[in-house]
Symmetry: C2
Subunit: 333 residues, 2 copies
């Protein structure tokens, strides 16, 4: 079963329908300039021959690609949801998406380079880790929208969550439940860590609780949360806000193994609303980002840049919301 069969081309359809290729092209693109009768006949023939337009030739000739390149990280919380939203938004606006994944053995530069060769009209990067300067250089070549990450460089558009506000929501919620001794496990060198940490500090100050403010070193993974939990057990607070959901599960596990009831003794708030945080087992109170809005805005912005539309704000900072589940409750008496 060798596969040597050349695919059906415009010319084949034209020949079979007894018209010129130009006319078939018009019909396939649904462009004006063909009679209804011809249109129908051509479409019929195309269907019969199982014709599929060659997007490469199409884009090559027409010069502009209506193609958005998306770099996403395999195994990152909510990148899947983000992709879903991006596909929706792109479809609504008549653009195609082409994906390039970052894996443990395929770095961001490789992923981006592939998209450049595909001649995307713009790039949407989900939580890019490369230096801001590099992003700026890239943005000199084509529009770049960075998501889930702050970038100072003015060449780069940004759609991200108001992480400080996310921590305010978390702390406000805990304070409303009567907590005062609230600690924070941060994300270490991770990108959004600084802003979340600062948001936590500000929120504590706003409530006049700076005396209780306490930041413990954490990280991205479950083990980081577990380590932080062991550290906190010496002098346990009544509530903890954690950099992300993964860390929260590690922390929860250690707390429970040491006989602390959650939320009876200690309340815990995560960040990300990861899919596993919804599992009945875990049932984590957490800060959710507004994925759908962000995806829509990112695509809209990319297209604006492609079209050369003037935009008011380079950076779009979206408020998150708190999802209250079972790991938070009234402060112990």
């Amino acid at each position: 079963m060798t596969v040597g069969d050349r695919r059906t081309t415009l010319a084949d359809v034209a020949a079979a329908a007894g018209v010129s290729v130009a006319l078939v092209s018009i019909v396939m693109r649904d462009a004006p300039g063909a009679s209804a009768a011809t249109r129908e006949r051509v479409l019929e023939v195309a269907r019969r021959l199982d014709y599929q337009p060659d997007s490469r030739a199409r884009l090559l000739r027409s010069g502009q690609s209506r193609l958005l390149g998306v770099v996403f990280g395999v195994q990152h919380p909510f990148h899947d949801d983000l992709l879903t939203g991006l596909y929706d938004a792109a479809e609504r606006i008549g653009y195609e998406l082409t994906l390039s994944a970052v894996t443990p053995r395929r770095d961001e530069r490789t992923a981006i380079s592939g998209l450049l060769q595909d001649r995307c009209a713009a790039l949407v990067l989900l939580g890019p880790q490369i230096p801001a300067a590099e992003l700026a250089t890239l943005a000199g070549r084509l529009p770049v929208v960075a998501m889930m990450r702050a970038v100072r460089q003015r060449q780069v558009d940004v759609v991200r969550t108001d992480d400080a506000r996310g921590m305010h929501l978390a702390v406000d919620h805990l304070v409303a439940l009567g907590h005062r001794n609230i600690a924070h496990v941060d994300g270490g060198r991770w990108l959004a860590s600084a802003e979340r940490r600062q948001g936590y500090r500000d929120a504590m100050r706003r409530h006049g609780l700076e005396a209780y403010a306490k930041v413990v070193n954490g990280g991205f993974g479950e083990e980081d949360g577990a380590r932080a939990a062991r550290e906190l057990l010496d002098d346990p607070p009544t509530a903890v806000t954690v950099f992300n959901d993964l860390g929260s599960t590690g922390l929860l596990d250690v707390l429970r193994r040491h006989g602390r009831a959650v939320p009876g003794d200690i309340s815990v708030v995560g960040y990300d609303d990861s899919s596993f945080s919804r599992l009945a087992h875990i049932d984590l109170t957490t800060v959710a980002q507004d994925i759908e809005t962000m995806a829509t805005l990112a695509v809209a912005r990319a297209v604006e840049r492609i079209d050369g539309t003037r935009v008011a704000h380079r950076e779009m900072v979206i408020p998150p919301r708190l999802v209250v589940r079972g790991t938070t409750g009234p402060a112990p008496a």
Copy 2:
């Protein structure tokens, strides 16, 4: 900041380097036929001009694409790991990957159609849900490798896990721990469900335990597992094998809420080795598929078909392995 700047082309590089485009092409493709000096000079110029080859033009002209189309499902267990493995395998063999996602609002047909227009040389489908007949039709147009799913049609290549064997491993493990009263929560109408269920039945029979064999209706989700757990509580077995990890967590949660100790009273085995099954909280004994081998085989097979190589077996069935964690233990006395 309008983006009207035409991208650098081969011709630009040729002009700047003072050579013909053909020569630049030779250098860029690392093909024989250029002096070392020229090679170096051209590469230098290309770097300076930030030249990126246009993959569309390249593929269009060269007629063959060295491009593998991959359809994956957003939010499916281990599809991420699979992508990682596929990228590795493709890179080793000099092929590119182009991804197309299935999302809640973007179906498989749409995803496939996009790849067809990109003129992929072959398709790799992760757990395709479309009817086998449709897969066969598709395979008439280009090589198609289906992963994680059995397909009878002989046009379609298959790389999948020996699911029956997976259940044997689970049951053997439980029997070795002294269990006899072992139930199975199946996956309902889900694709691999029938084979896993049958595997369970066979394994029970092999151990002379058909009298204890009991299959409960389940499904793909956590709630399905929870429902099954409630049903099982009337006359609880000492161990349960579940269709997948997600169902297992639902089941585990209900069991614990009803005061059953796991694995003290009841042992539980999942299926998939999903990322969350490793969480300390969940720590689920589960059946793991050999992702890396499967990815390598799928890519190899796709390339064999593209090259017209004769292959011995259309279907490659890979043995899974059991990952023993904390949800299984000795049968209660």
